[in-house]
């Protein structure tokens, strides 16, 4: 079946502009995660959605970052007033209720802020 998809694959934006990144999880997966990966580094947790529960936003680095998810479908990560330090690959992952920690990752969106 289809895996996790993300769009766009690449995004170049000017400092100060807002960007929206999209994630389509695997159908039926109740959990959805956003991570940030700076060049050559590990993954930094941003936010976690589980079904209709309140999201875990504990990893969001500032109030310029927000994310939404409608039910168990698409999620959008929004970064307002982008800064150069926001440049990174943003990865989305989803998992099922029965195996919540077997995360399936999308290919990521590479964000470059100029």
């Amino acid at each position: 079946g289809a895996g996790v998809s993300q769009s766009p694959s690449n995004k170049v934006t000017e400092k100060g502009k807002d960007v929206e990144l999209r994630c389509d999880p695997i159908s039926g997966h109740t959990a959805l995660y956003w991570y940030r990966q700076r060049l050559g580094q590990g993954l930094e947790f941003l936010i976690y959605f589980q079904g209709n529960s309140a999201p875990d936003k504990s990893g969001l680095p500032s109030d310029r970052f927000s994310a939404e998810r409608t039910g168990e479908s698409v999620s959008t990560l929004t970064i307002q007033r982008t800064q150069q330090e926001d440049s990174a690959v943003y990865l989305c992952a989803s998992s099922s209720l029965t195996t919540p920690y077997e995360q399936y990752f999308g290919p990521g969106t590479r964000l470059t802020v100029t």
Binding site: G40, G42, L91, A93, Y101, E102, Q103, F105, P107, G108
Partner: protein, 108 residues
């Protein structure tokens, strides 16, 4: 803060050699995962180890969870160019905490 340090950060070896990479923490984890990430792609889960001292084998890859569940190692036998990638460990308690990664290059 639960930190996972991986070593070495970079490793470049010849095809056919053996290697071991390490994942260390001062925190105890209920389980630990290893992922491999290739350029332009997301990480792919290789294995989950749950019990202290547990050893799992996946073809030429051997994963071990430390007895105290604070550390783990990944050993690759007879490395091949297809093993090239970024290897990430991730410790699980309430959520997954990812390590800093080891970038492995196998030279043909």
């Amino acid at each position: 803060t639960q930190l996972l340090e991986q070593s070495p950060q970079f490793l470049s070896i010849q095809e056919g050699e053996n290697l071991t990479v390490y994942c260390n923490s001062s925190s105890v984890f209920s389980s630990l995962q290893w992922y491999r990430q290739e350029p332009g792609e997301g990480p792919v889960l290789l294995v989950t180890v749950v019990t202290g001292g547990e050893v799992k084998k996946l073809k030429r890859l051997t994963f071990q969870f430390g007895d105290a569940r604070k550390d783990s190692s990944l050993h690759i036998t007879a490395a091949q160019p297809g093993d090239t990638g970024l290897y990430l460990c991730a410790g699980l308690n309430e959520k997954l905490t990812f390590g800093t990664g080891t970038r492995l290059t196998i030279i043909p």
